[in-house]
Amino acid sequence: MAFKLASSPHLNTSAQTKSVMLKVMLCAVPGVLAQCYFFGWGAIIQLMLAIAVAMAAEAAVLTSRKRQVWPTLSDNSAALTGLLIGVAVPALAPWWITTIGAIFAIVVVKHLYGGLGNNIFNPAMSAYVMLLISFPLQMTTWVAPTGAALNDVSLLSSLQIIFQGASSQEILAYRAGFDGVSMATPLDAIKTSLSTGLTIDEALTLPSFSDGFGVGWAWINVAYLLGGLMMLKLKVIRWHISIGILGSLFVCAGVGYLLSPDTHTGPLLHLFSGATMLAAFFIATDPVTAATSPRGRLIFGALIGVLVYVIRSFGGYPDAFAFAVLLANLCAPFIDYYVKPRAYGHRSSH
């Protein structure tokens, strides 16, 4: 056993990868439950499938790299990657989408770079981006959320659609809102309405916003926010990255809204739609791929917030967290290089 002597101050902590990852997964439970409520059984099926495939892929790669399988597999990091892919994929996407995503995340993004702790990109988000650019149709087909849907999906038919495929009519039926027109996600709805010349106020009268605030998605974001606050309380994550993201997104969206309220979404809608809370608390806070110092993390988070706002407002995609997180991952070593915390006992030269 190696006896490592670190420099002072000495601090003992009981945090292990295993328990940290487990806590993150438990804190994601409210959000996952909300997603299951609004999008039906499909959400939980995707989750199970993604976790199972991610664990299997991890075990396979570890075996082929001649590493011990169980110690690494039981650190729950592969399961967490699987969970994040599972919640990011649309509830009724075909099974091979989730499978390809989970395998890509574990094999290419994580293990080709050397395994846990060595990957430069967030595995779950890289897999999501890969899926999004490869299969744009399947990755943007969300069913209408419960409370606004014309037809609810039963467990049996979800299984059937996911594993055997569905005709486009079936999918359309489950995408339909009360008026029979297929519903878009709130951010999609805004993007398409703006491109057809509607103003934000007019877009907000669409069925996607029938409860005044993005049906379903707002509650899912609230649930993830709750989970995020639990993680802060448990000290699983520090606040810097999350606050950096939410703060800069709020400021950017606020400025845009003040300048041109007809063509820019309000800041609250930005914060409570799409993947905002999920990404701010569960994805961007990945300690491996984020910046390391407190100040660096604030910059890292703020960068993500700005990128998300820019891509959401001016880019081609309705939501942008995956792209923003990957771009910020690229910048993390650069941020760390310039934002070095003062060494203990060392005085600055000025």
């Binding site: 650019i133 299969f135 744009p136 149709l137 399947q138």
Partner: protein
């Protein structure tokens, strides 16, 4: 004769322009979405490479050292123009699908690189042979990459072979499997980068296996002394 064997080994494997020198990455990654395009571009590059190697080797004694690069570039540009016009005349479909990357062969670093590093220092026969071998090496990499991307992307091989060979070649297209949705990543540039990375990794694995086989498993540990008295 061993000279020629060495040139072939360098061009096809050890110093392969695609996998080791990593020259000409731009066309390598941009046009290898299908096998047909890959073969077309590989062949065009090979023609230019052989021609430029021969011409550069012929004029190498008459070109002042200071202006050799502009002279080489003009020779290459002239050859690329010839090849481009030929393809335009005899394989118009391919000409369209290769697009800008055909005239861009002029900037392909493989060609100027071989002209400078090999053809300007060797006789005509060796330079021509080097052109052939480097060209084949480059074309092979293009073909493997094109085949992988085409199979993964749309499940076919030789799609659009009629662009290269004329109408009779339409039957050459092999449908390996039917896909409802194309795997776009394999057909887009990021997929090309990833596939290229895998190809280079495979080559490195083969190289290290070969090195292990030729090296003795356990070389006798040489006796080393803790302190050697310096003789001075």
């Amino acid at each position: 004769m061993s000279d020629y064997r060495e040139i072939a080994w360098q061009g096809l494997w050890k110093n392969n322009p695609g996998l080791v020198q990593l020259l000409g990455l731009c066309p390598l990654l941009a046009v290898t979405a299908t096998l047909t395009n890959a073969i077309g571009l590989g062949f065009a590059t090979m023609l230019v490479l052989i021609g430029s190697n021969i011409l550069v080797s012929l004029v190498r004694d008459y070109v002042p050292k200071e202006i050799r690069i502009p002279v080489f570039v003009m020779i290459i540009a002239a050859l690329v123009t010839c090849v481009q016009l030929l393809i335009n005349a005899y394989a118009y479909g391919l000409y369209l699908s290769l697009g800008i990357f055909l005239p861009l062969i002029v900037t392909n670093c493989v060609i100027i690189g071989r002209a400078e590093a090999f053809a300007s220092r060797n006789n005509v026969a060796k330079a021509a042979f080097d052109g052939v071998m480097m060209g084949i090496g480059f074309t092979l990499v293009l073909m493997v990459l094109g085949a992988c991307r085409e199979i993964l992307g749309q499940g076919t091989l030789f799609d659009g072979a009629d662009l290269l060979l004329g109408d009779w070649a339409k039957g050459l297209t092999i449908h390996l499997w039917q896909v409802d949705t194309n795997f776009l990543l394999a057909m887009l540039p990021p997929g090309a980068f990833i596939a290229m990375g895998f190809l280079i990794a495979i080559k490195n694995v083969i190289d290290s296996k070969l090195a292990q086989r030729t090296m003795p498993a356990n070389p006798e540990p040489a006796v080393t002394r803790a302190r050697i008295t310096k003789v001075s």
